[in-house]
Every structure is written in C-alpha cells, then in structure tokens.
Amino acid sequence: MINQKDILSTIQMIEQQHLDIRTVTMGISLLSCCDEDINSACSKIYDKICRYAEHLVPVCEEIEIELGIPIVNKRISVTPAALVGAACKSTDYTPIAKALDEAARTCGVNFIGGFSALVQKGMTEADQNLIRSIPEALSSTQLVCSSVNVGSTRSGINMDAVRLMGQVIKETAWKTREQDGIGCAKLVVFCNAVEDNPFMAGAFHGTGEPEKVINVGVSGPGVVHNALKELKGAPLDEVAETIKKTAFRVTRVGQLVAQEASARLNTPFGIVDLSLAPTPAIGDSVARILEEMGLQVCGTHGTTAALALLNDAVKKGGVMASSSVGGLSGAFIPVSEDEGMIAAARSGTLCIDKLEAMTCVCSVGLDMIAVPGDTPAETISAIIADEAAVGMVNNKTTAVRILPTPGTAVGDTIRMGGLLGDAPVMDVHKESSAEFIARGGRIPAPMHSLKN
C-alpha cells in the first residue's frame, strides 16, 4: 500500500497548494471543413467541433471526481482559421470566429483557440484576411482566442506582419474598450509558435497534428513554492533538485489525467505541457517562487538567473514523468495572472525591460502586460519585434500578449477578473520606433554557428 505520509502530502498539495490540472485541450483538425461558401464552411466547422468535443467537459468532470484533482479549464484548439478560410470567396472571416464561439458554447468549454495565421515568412491573401478580421472577430465573440506567428528561427521575422499586428492590437483594444480592452487578452503574437500548445490564448491545432488529439497542461507554482520553503539558505543545486522532484510529481498527475481523458474520449494522447502556470490566487505565483529563492522583490537583479534555474529544473523533472512532452513547457510569467508579478509591477521593481530579459530564459514571453492606452501602434510593433528577435535567435518560442486599453495611464489597473486577473499599467519608452517599423520587409534568419 502507498505510504500514509505520501497520501496526505498529495491531499495537502491539492487542497492547500493549488495543485491542479490547468487545462485539458482537445485539438481538432478543421481542414475537412473548407468550402467556397463561408456559411457552409461555418456550419461544417460547428458540426465537426461539436461531434468531436461533445463529451470533453463531462468526461473531464468525471476524471476530476475520481482522481480528486481539479481540472480548471477544458478547451478546444483548431486548425489555424486562415487555412480553413483560404477556400472561401469571402474576405471577412468573422463568421468563422462566430461559428467557433458557438461551438465552444455548445461544448461547454471556456476558450477555443485557433483563429490564427502562420505568417513567419510571408502572408497569403487568406492570412491577410484573417489578420484584418481579428479586431471584429474578437469583439463580437467571447470564447475565441487568436494568435499570429510572425517569426521563426528558420525563416526570420516577417516585419510587415509585425507592423500590421501593432495596428491590429490597437484596433482590437479600441473595439473592446467597453470591456477594458479584453479582446487583446485573447490575442497572442508568436515567434516559433508550437503546434501542440494546450494553453490559451495561443493554442492552435497544427497541420502536423492528427485528426484530433488530447493535450494537457499542468500547473503547480504553489507546490514548488511550498517545497522551497523548507530549504532556507540551501545552495542552489539543492533548490534545483527539489524543484525537479516536485515537477516530476506534478507532471505525473498530468500524464495520468491525459491518459484517462484520451482513453475515455477515444482520442489519441498528444503531449503533456511541462508548465508552471500561475493564477491570480494567493499561493499560486511564479514570482513568489523566485522571491523564495532569496530575491526581495521579483524583478530585481538576480531574477533572470533564478528564473533560468526554475525553468530548467521544471523541464528536467517533468520530462521523465511523461511519455510525450511538448507544448510550451516551462515557467510562465503572465503579469496579470500572477499575484506576485502584479505586486512587483505595482512596486515598480518589475518593468517591461526586465520582463523582456526574463523571457530569454523561460516560457513564453511578454504576457498579459498592460501598457498605456495612448501607446502608438509602432511602439507595440517594436515590442513585438524585440520579443520575436529573442525567440528567433535563441531558438525558442516567445510571444507578446499586450493590453493597450484605451484611456488608461501608468498607475491604473485593468481589472479583468477570473484567471485573467488584474493588470497594472506599465510604462513603455516614449522615444519613437516608428521609422524602424515603417521599413517593413524581413529580418533574415540568424546564423546557427559562431554562437556568441
């Protein structure tokens, strides 16, 4: 029999340290739904999603009860909509977003991702149509998430797309200004986007994926934080070992849930994402783990090093716990979704420049960052370009999810509630990047030798 101490420690992790499964995401290919007529494409999309995912939520709820662990989100990701829309004569893809929204509601999931385009090397007409449809699509739906991949290590950065995305983000914020610009919380700009990411807002079902698939994202900052509390003053290699062991346990639960869900839904298991995903709840913060390592406030000198250790140890611990690892895998640092990050940003210690440095060593990027409402589109494009360059050169996924909510200024807080949390508006550099962004074109792919 399993040791009593182990059983009680599991219960404690779940009840007091917020151990949960962050998301079970079903990926669904929509390539079979292409149609010249957008309305018939939409009804095919709705039908296919509902057919595949109708049992997703009840099955996850069943697993939650049997294993006694919360599965916080049940979600769906689909083939990038630009690929599905390419066959349509229509140039406005908002109806596709509405069909996705409706299907998500019918299935009872809380987000559906894949109103997406992959334009790292160039934009097709369909890609442009999709990107131009994003503001209207996100303002007229509630559950749809959108992402655009603007760069990759192999193809460089598409600066025309970067320029366009700055404008699209501003327009999305404006169109959803009545709801604090929440549209932008559902829009991610990627470099090196992955095809099997279960996390929103950046999830989409890549073309290399099977017909349908189950991907699982785990969580557990509270568990890691708690484990480190017993290591006051210990050398960092001991800290890393403890994080590895904890990540192993957390990931094993993810693997178990993934296998169960996959068997019961008769859907192949894809990957477990070895993530450390925070929530705004007290005791579920990545920033507090870094502070537990000995930093007074997250964002001060030493933060990047502490985060590098954390991120690497999470992967090393998790990789043995799962038969198939993928997605974004690493510690997330979404500012508005992490109680410790919010506090650090409010105190002024955590600024965008430091966050950018932190994204060099962790998953994913400048995430859920509120900037003043009057930030020019070019500045937002330049922030995207910087972040994409970090990803491109370091051969990793990076992303920008930025909230320029109209009418806000530094010191304000955007309150989105729920998992999206509260975002303190952070300062950006005032000096213009407009001429750089206006150039457009491409930043060529980097060298892969002579590394320095």
Partner: protein
C-alpha cells in the same frame, strides 16, 4: 460512459482519507456507509497528526453498488454531518505521484 464499463482489471482500488476532530464512532460510521455501498475495506491506518484524527483507508470499489461520483458525494455528506473532511480518490493518482 458508465463507470463500471472500464478496463481497470478486476480490482479497482480507491483511497479514502478522513481528517478532523477525534470522537467516538468515526470508523464505525464510515464502515457502515461503505457496507451500504458494497465497498470492501482492504486496509486501514489511523493516527493523530497535529491534534487531528487522520485515517487512510484502502478500499476496493469494483463491486460498488453506485457510480463513483455518488459514492464520493455520499461520503462528503457523511463528512459534513460528522464535521470531518472525507475524500475518496482512485489509488492511481497517489501511485503516479509517489512511485516511479
């Protein structure tokens, strides 16, 4: 999908944990409930941890008369009546977390 249709082998074990203030008749009350559900107790261990009554039971639920969700609900209700926290979880989660 019905709970009993699944392929977990003959025996399906679960772990029941009970934490709360010690008093007379906790084990008796729980065992009566389990007998009602046709659940066989395999092992019981009990201690007082930091002043709290703490009991861990291994049970076989393969012959249970009700689906898992209803058993879990029934035990939670009993817990409320007796001011105890009672949980039932399939053994696999503990196995996964603590055994390689």
């Amino acid at each position: 999908m019905a709970k009993n249709e699944r392929q977990w082998g003959k025996q399906m074990n679960a772990i029941i944990t009970v934490v709360g203030k010690d008093r007379v008749g906790i084990i008796a009350a729980i065992c009566v409930k389990l007998a009602e559900y046709q659940i066989n107790v395999l092992d019981i261990s009990q201690t007082i941890l930091q002043g709290s009554f703490t009991m861990v039971m291994a049970v076989d639920i393969s012959g249970a008369s009700l689906p898992f969700a209803q058993v879990s609900e029934g035990l939670q209700e009993l817990g409320k009546e007796m001011e105890l926290s009672i949980h039932i979880q399939r053994e696999e989660i503990f196995d996964a977390m603590h055994n390689i």
